[in-house]
Amino acid sequence: MVQLRPRASRAPASAEAMVDEGQLASEEEEAEHGLLLGQPSSGAAAEPLEEDEEGDDEFDDEAPEELTFASAQAEAREEERRVRETVRRDKTLLKEKRKRREELFIEQKKRKLLPDTILEKLTTASQTNQNKSYLAVRLKDQDLRDSRQQAAQAFIHNSLYGPGTNRTTVNKFLSLANKRLPVKRAAVQFLNNAWGIQKKQNAKRFKRRWMVRKMKTKK
């Protein structure tokens, strides 16, 4: 037999919290509370429930408590309202915090910036420098420009020569004509001179050393 744990009270945990803060003004609420704290009672349709909850351990084949629709609905609405209230309160708190922080930052920045007069001078000065031989450029802008240009060139390269395009090497392209001649000829670049460079170099060196040795032994 499965031992069912003692059922938790139907009253929501925040009821105590509610009691601390909230004002149970309306009678309805009180009535609800009363109903909830006690046994959930139903409307006319429901049947009265067991009063003794601790008897669950002994009578484990008892049917579970029944809840009426109205009570459950009321419960859910209450829950929702409470959650909404907390969220609203949290939000206002955060907003206030942010506002205070923002003001603090503005104060700090103002302290950091140069006085307005110097800033004005700078902005007017930058316009008159156009006829001089130098050009003042912000490096950050230049980097951004370069990276965008690189991205654009990469896009073009990918769409024309990237994967999915049907490209061939120039050697193969020029050799097509050779293959269709009445007397077939080799490809335009038949030899691959870039093959085995290291091996060829080693062989050359060995040959040179061997020749020298041969000359020595001959003598």
């Binding site: 420009r145 965008r148 240009q149 991205a151 654009a152 060139q153 896009f155 769409s159 024309l160 020569y161 999915g164 395009t165 049907n166 490209r167 061939t168 090497t169 120039v170 050697n171 193969k172 392209f173 020029l174 097509l176 293959k179 269709r180 335009v188 670049q189």
Partner: protein, 692 residues
């Protein structure tokens, strides 16, 4: 003619940059071409397709769009986010205005020519007003989600079509809001993972929008309802460009496979009024992607990654069916990129960002060998050609012009912002370089540099029209004189020629004709009468001081400087006229030189032939054979005398970039085979051929 030993040079690794955009201007019949290295060239189509101006490139400038606005103003926009206007009179960039939208992908001028529209990386379409001296930002249109890759105005100027990635939007110009958004299928009747990039759009006056995209489709949309009308699948690869004729009865598209298709509006049946668009002609003149096309009233113009500029006149539009209706392909540059130091047998090659100095090889074939050697033999090299110097330019700008002095001790080159002069010292086999610092500011942006024959004077033609003479001595220089621009505007590219005795300097480059200056007295001597075609090459003969000028319509004039009039030979030639085959050559003459001991000979060359004109022999008329190679020795003397005429043409060395006489018995010919250029281009689209 005599016998010559020829240095056949193939180590000039010249690779032109690919063509990115072209823009055709109907009023002046000129074509603006922009390349991937940022160079913008202007071709004059009525002057025999000659490149008359160019703006040097820049490393950070990646032009993506080029357009003409009203009043012959040229604008370009690129991935650095700036709109640039080019000053065609002063040959510099007027200003560069940042559009603040990130990299700019497309630009279109309104049909009225007074407004400019740019499509940016962040999806915004910006409208600019063209004021008389600048452009001014007017407003932004509704911002779209992805980059705007192509733009087109409706001929009435009320709507625009903007092609983006996977969709096309139609905007109303007045309100700036997007009226329609048409989704493009990623693949013709299929599904694909790759996004469909709409490379080009064109808006016709009846409300049809034509779009070309990366799936190989050409689609017709109705802009009033925002629906697809017709779809053509024309290629397996991207269709990258579209251009519509002014009368809107034909348009041309270019594909990534190198094919150019011509679409025409033809009636459905022979006597019906209903018309439909039909793909009529395919042209395969390119091997790589055709990134740009243009439609002039009589021809289709295409250019792409394989660096050729192709003009295909349409037979039905051409009135007179003569040689003008032939295909023109411009591959090689119209100016000389090589200079030669005859005393030390050095060649200076000019690239976009560096210069290379080479010493020619030599052979020890002596008299005995030469006597027994026949015409056309290859002599063995005893000493290979030597790569002496690789001089990189500082900064991102391209080199405009360069020159080496005849003695080989000075090298000068110019970019847009600086002028560089170097002194070379030769000790045994080593070479050392020393830069002359503190060059004056007025020398920069030079269009042409020339050293005098004795290497004591340097002549610089600047792009403001002024001509500067600088005295060189030891390791320093002194500015002697500046000839200010004469009457007439600085129109074409400037060419210089100096006489071997150092007295006369000839300068072309203004519309008033070729000016001849007296160098010793520092004043203007005379002006050759103006000719309506630009000058392509000039040189002054030794001793006789005759100025020989070649124009872009293949006319050659000889003007005597001391007598201040055309020579008798030149008058005879003009009266009789040149042979028709001579006039039908399609590459300009880029270099003229003379033989030191034979004053009757003129050596000139273009890309596919070199010719020695012998002034003592009779001129050919239209009936004689122009190209008559050396007849076999067993022919009788009579026949040889009958067929001999003044123009000795040889086509052995081609394609020729440069040819000159080093001394009395030696010639140098710099060739650049087309296959060597193609081998260094980016990869092309794979073509599947049956049987391979």
């Amino acid at each position: 003619m005599g016998e010559f030993k020829v240095h056949r040079v193939r180590f000039f690794n010249y690779v032109p940059s690919g063509i990115r955009c072209v823009a055709y201007n109907n009023q002046s019949n000129r074509l603006a071409v922009s390349r991937t290295d940022g160079t913008v060239e202007i071709y004059n189509l009525s002057a025999n397709y000659f490149q008359e101006k160019f703006f040097p490139g820049h490393e950070s400038r990646a032009t993506e769009a080029l357009c003409w606005a009203e009043g012959q103003r040229l604008f370009s926009a690129g991935l650095n986010g700036e709109i640039m206007e080019y000053d065609l009179q002063a040959l510099n960039i007027k200003y560069a205005m940042d559009a603040f939208g990130g990299p700019i992908w497309s630009m279109a001028a309104s049909p009225s020519g007074s407004q400019l529209l740019v499509g940016c990386e962040d999806g915004s379409v910006k409208l600019f007003q063209i004021t008389p001296d600048k452009i001014q930002f007017e407003r932004n249109f509704d911002r779209q989600k992805s980059r705007i890759l192509s733009l087109s105005w409706h001929p009435s100027g009320t709507h625009i079509a903007a092609g983006s990635i996977d969709y096309i939007s139609v905007f109303d110009v007045k309100s700036g809001s997007a009226v329609h958004k048409m989704i493009v299928d990623r693949q013709y009747m299929g599904v694909s993972k790759r996004k469909c990039i709409v490379w080009g759009v064109a808006f016709l006056s009846d409300g049809t929008i034509i779009s070309v995209d990366s799936a190989g489709k050409v689609q017709f949309w109705d802009s009033a309802t925002g629906t697809l009308v017709k779809s053509h699948l024309i290629a397996n690869a991207d269709v990258q460009s579209i251009a519509v004729a002014d009368q809107e009865d034909s348009f041309v598209v270019g594909t990534a496979e190198g094919t150019v298709f011509h679409f025409q509006l033809v009636p459905v049946t022979s006597n019906s009024s209903e018309k439909q668009w039909v793909r009529t002609k395919p042209f395969q003149h390119h091997t790589h992607d055709v990134r740009t096309v243009a439609h002039s009233p009589t021809a289709l113009i295409s250019g792409g990654t394989d660096t050729h500029l192709v003009f295909r006149p349409l037979m039905e539009k051409v009135e007179v069916k003569n040689y003008d209706a032939a295909l023109r392909k411009i591959t090689f540059p119209h100016r000389c990129l090589i200079s030669c130091s005859k005393k030390r047998q050095l060649l200076l090659f000019q690239f976009a960002h560096h210069l290379e100095l080479w010493r020619l090889g030599s052979t020890v074939a002596t008299g005995k060998f030469l006597v027994s050697g026949k015409n056309g033999d290859t002599l063995p090299l005893s000493k290979n050609a030597d790569h002496l110097l690789h001089l990189k330019t500082k900064g991102p700008e391209n080199i405009i012009c360069s020159c080496i002095s005849p003695c080989g001790s000075w090298i000068a080159y110019s970019t847009v912002s600086r002028f560089f002069l170097y002194r070379l010292n030769y000790e045994h086999d080593n070479i050392s370089l020393k830069r002359v610092s503190k060059m004056p500011a007025f020398l920069r942006s030079a269009l042409q540099i020339l050293f005098s024959e004795d290497s004591t004077k340097l002549f610089v033609a600047s792009n403001q029209g002024a001509l500067h003479i600088v005295q060189l001595s030891g390791g320093s220089f002194k500015h002697l004189h500046a000839f200010q621009p004469q009457s007439g505007t600085v129109e074409a590219m400037c060419l210089l020629a100096v006489s071997p005795d150092g007295n006369w300097l000839a300068a072309s480059g203004t519309s008033a004709g070729v000016h001849v200056y007296n160098v010793k007295q520092l004043k203007l001597h005379c002006t050759v009468p103006a000719y309506n075609f630009p000058v392509t090459a000039m040189a002054i003969a030794p001793n006789t001081n005759n100025l020989v000028i070649a124009h872009s319509d293949q006319q050659v004039f000889e003007y005597s400087i001391p007598d201040k009039q055309y020579t008798d030979w030149s008058r005879t030639v003009q009266k009789q006229g040149f042979h028709h085959l001579w006039l039908q050559r399609d590459t300009p003459i880029t270099h003229i030189s003379f033989h030191p001991k034979r004053p009757m000979h003129i050596l000139l060359h273009d890309a596919y032939m070199f010719c020695i004109i012998d002034k003592s022999l009779p001129l050919p008329n239209d009936k004689t054979l122009l190209y008559n190679p050396f007849p076999p020795t067993n022919e009788s003397d009579v026949i040889r005398r009958r067929t001999a005429h003044a123009f000795k043409i040889s086509k052995i060395y081609k394609p020729l970039l440069f040819m000159d006489l080093l001394d009395e018995r030696t010639l140098v010919a710099v060739e650049r085979p087309l296959d060597d250029i193609i081998a260094q281009l980016p990869p092309p689209i794979k073509k599947k051929k049956f049987g391979t």
